[in-house]
C-alpha cells in the first residue's frame, strides 16, 4: 500500500466513522439537542465570568472586553475540537486493560484510528457555542481582512499542535505512569486558564501552556494575530513552529506506542 493510498484510506475511514458516530448521536434529535445545550455550559460560564470581571474591575491591561470574549470563544472552540478527537483518560484506560489491541489490528494509520474512536461527539456543543460567542465578539471589534486570514492559518496549525500534543501527553502518561487520572483535568485546567490573556500567568505559566498542554497555540497566539498585537515576524514563527512540531509529535507518538503492552484482547 503506497503512502498516498494509505493516507486516503485512513481519511476515508475517519470520515466514515464520524458519519456513523454523528448519525447515531443525532438519531434521538431532542436528546442530542439537550446534550449540546448542556455542553455549551462552559461557554456560557466563560461569558459570565469575563462579563463579571469587566463589570466590577478594569479587566486586563491591553485587552478590551470583546477581545477577551473572542479569546475565550476561540479557547472554547479549541477545547471542543480536542474533546471531539480525543478523550485522554478513556484512551489510557483502554491501553491499560488491553482494549487498544483492536485498533492496532486495523489496517489503518494508528493515529487516525485513535482519533476516530476516542472522541466525544457531545463536545460539538462547545464548538457551536464557542462559534456563536466568537461571532458576537468579533462583531464589536474592528478587524483587518489580512489579520483574519493570518489568524485562520495560525489557528488551524495551532489546533493540530494541541490535538497532537494532547495525544502525545496521553500516550506518554500510559508509558510512564500506566495511568491517566490527572489527564482528565489537565485539558480542563488548560482551557480554563487559556480563556484569559496568558501574560497574567508569567513566564512559567505561559511555558506550561505552550509546551505541556499546548493550548496557547490554539487560543492565545492566534488571538494575538487576530488583534494585530504581534508583528509579521512573530506570525511567521507561529506558522513555522507547528509545521516542525506536528511531524515530531507524530513520530514521537508512533515511537511511544511501541511500548504498548498488548492485553491479548
Amino acid at each position: 500500500m503506497s503512502y498516498r493510498s494509505g493516507m486516503r484510506g485512513a481519511l476515508n475511514m475517519y470520515l466514515l466513522s464520524q458519519k456513523y458516530k454523528l448519525k447515531s448521536f443525532f438519531i434521538y434529535r431532542t436528546q442530542a439537542v439537550g446534550w449540546l445545550i448542556v455542553e455549551s455550559l462552559s461557554t456560557v460560564g466563560a461569558f459570565i465570568s469575563i462579563s463579571i470581571i469587566y463589570g466590577v474591575s478594569g479587566g486586563f491591561a491591553g485587552w478590551t472586553y470583546f477581545q477577551v470574549l473572542a479569546l475565550a470563544a476561540i479557547t472554547q472552540i479549541s477545547g471542543g475540537i480536542v474533546g471531539y478527537t480525543l478523550t485522554p483518560n478513556r484512551l489510557v484506560t483502554d491501553m491499560r486493560n488491553g482494549k487498544f489491541d483492536q485498533l492496532m489490528l486495523k489496517p489503518y494509520d494508528i493515529i487516525s484510528s485513535t482519533i476516530a474512536r476516542y472522541g466525544d461527539v457531545t463536545t460539538l456543543g462547545t464548538i457551536f457555542s464557542g462559534l456563536l460567542l466568537l461571532v458576537y465578539a468579533l462583531l464589536h471589534i474592528n478587524l483587518s481582512f489580512g489579520a483574519f486570514l493570518a489568524f485562520l492559518l495560525v489557528y488551524v496549525l495551532g489546533t493540530f499542535v494541541l490535538v497532537f500534543g494532547m495525544l502525545a501527553l496521553s500516550v506518554l502518561s500510559y508509558v510512564v505512569l500506566k495511568s491517566s487520572g490527572f489527564l482528565r483535568w489537565s485539558l480542563n485546567i488548560g482551557q480554563d486558564a487559556a480563556q484569559y490573556p496568558m501574560y497574567i500567568y508569567g513566564v512559567l505559566g505561559m511555558t506550561i501552556l505552550s509546551t505541556i498542554i499546548p493550548i496557547a497555540f490554539a487560543s492565545f497566539f492566534p488571538s494575538l494575530t487576530l488583534f494585530g498585537k504581534i508583528g509579521y515576524a512573530y506570525v511567521g514563527i507561529l506558522i513555522l513552529v507547528p509545521v516542525i512540531v506536528v511531524p515530531v509529535l507524530y513520530y514521537a507518538i508512533i515511537r511511544m506506542l511501541r511500548r504498548y503492552e498488548s492485553g491479548g484482547g
Partner: protein
C-alpha cells in the same frame, strides 16, 4: 465492629489500595486541583492590579486569595464526583453486575469508592491547606464556625455525589458522558462561585445563585470560612442546603429505579 461497618471499611481499604496502585498519578492529581485556584487568583490579581484598587465590592485581594485557596482545598471533595467514572465504566464494561450482586446498596458502594479516591487528596492537600490558612490568615476559629464549615462540606459532598449519580446514569443513553461531565463540572464551578465569588454577581442574580445547589460546592463553605458572609447568613443557608440534598437524592433515586430496569447482564 458490626458486620455492616466491617463490610464498608474493607471496601474502603480495597478502594485505597486500588488508588495507591498508581501513586504518581494520585500525587500529581492531588496538586493539580490547586491549579484551578491558582488560575482564579492570578486572574483576579491582574484585574485588581489593572483597576488600581485594594477592594472590589467590599472584598479585599487578600480575602479573595484565601477564598480561592479554600475553594481549591475543597475541590478534591466537592469539585466533581468520580462516581460518574465508576458508573460509566460499570455500565459500559459490565462491571456494574459485580457491584449489584454484593450484599450492599449500589449507591453506598459508589460513595465508598469515590471517597477512597478522594481521601488521599484530602489528607495530602485539603487538611494541611485549610489548617495552614486558618493559622496564617488569622481566622477567628469558633466552634460554630468549624461546625458550620464541616456541615457545609457534608452537604456539598452529598449534593455533588447525587449530581454525579444523575450524570453517571446518563451512560445508559450515551456512549460517552465525559464531555457532559466536564461541562457540568465547569458550569457548576462558575455558578457555584468557584471562579467568580457570588458576591461579584449582580445583586438579584447573586442572591438567586446562593439558593442553588451549586453554591454549596464552593461559595457557601468558602465564604463561611473567610467570613465573606456573616455567620447568621451562613446558619440561615443550612435548611436550603439540606432541602437540595433531599431533592437531588429523590431525583437520583427515581432515576435509578427507571434505569435499573434497563440493565441486562449476560452472566459468565
Amino acid at each position: 465492629m458490626s458486620s455492616a461497618s466491617r463490610k464498608y471499611s474493607s471496601l474502603l481499604v480495597i478502594g485505597l489500595k486500588n488508588e495507591m496502585a498508581y501513586r504518581w498519578d494520585v500525587l500529581i492529581s492531588s496538586f493539580m486541583w490547586l491549579l484551578f485556584s491558582v488560575i482564579g487568583i492570578l486572574v483576579w490579581v491582574a484585574a485588581y492590579s489593572f483597576s488600581h484598587t485594594n477592594s472590589i465590592m467590599g472584598l479585599s485581594l487578600p480575602t479573595l486569595i484565601i477564598y480561592f485557596i479554600v475553594v481549591g482545598a475543597l475541590t478534591p471533595l466537592l469539585g466533581f464526583s468520580s462516581i460518574v467514572d465508576i458508573m460509566t465504566e460499570g455500565i459500559k464494561g459490565g462491571s456494574i453486575s459485580r457491584m449489584l450482586i454484593r450484599p450492599m446498596s449500589y449507591f453506598s458502594q459508589l460513595i465508598i469508592a469515590d471517597f477512597s479516591s478522594g481521601i488521599i487528596n484530602i489528607l495530602l492537600v485539603s487538611v494541611p491547606l485549610l489548617v495552614g490558612m486558618a493559622i496564617l490568615a488569622n481566622i477567628h476559629v469558633t466552634l460554630l464556625l468549624v461546625s458550620l464549615f464541616l456541615l457545609y462540606i457534608a452537604i456539598g459532598y452529598m449534593i455533588v455525589s447525587f449530581i454525579g449519580f444523575i450524570v453517571g446514569s446518563m451512560a445508559f443513553y450515551l456512549t460517552d458522558v465525559y464531555g457532559i461531565a466536564i461541562s457540568i463540572n465547569y458550569g457548576s464551578m462558575i455558578i457555584g462561585g468557584g471562579i467568580v465569588p457570588l458576591t461579584f454577581f449582580p445583586n438579584g442574580i447573586g442572591h438567586l445563585l446562593v439558593m442553588l445547589p451549586f453554591a454549596f460546592l464552593a461559595f457557601v463553605p468558602a465564604a463561611t470560612y473567610t467570613g465573606t458572609i456573616s455567620l447568621a447568613t451562613a446558619v440561615g443557608l443550612v435548611p436550603v442546603g439540606l432541602a437540595w440534598t433531599v431533592i437531588l437524592g429523590i431525583v437520583a433515586y427515581i432515576l435509578w429505579k427507571r434505569m435499573g430496569k434497563m440493565i441486562n447482564v449476560v452472566g459468565v
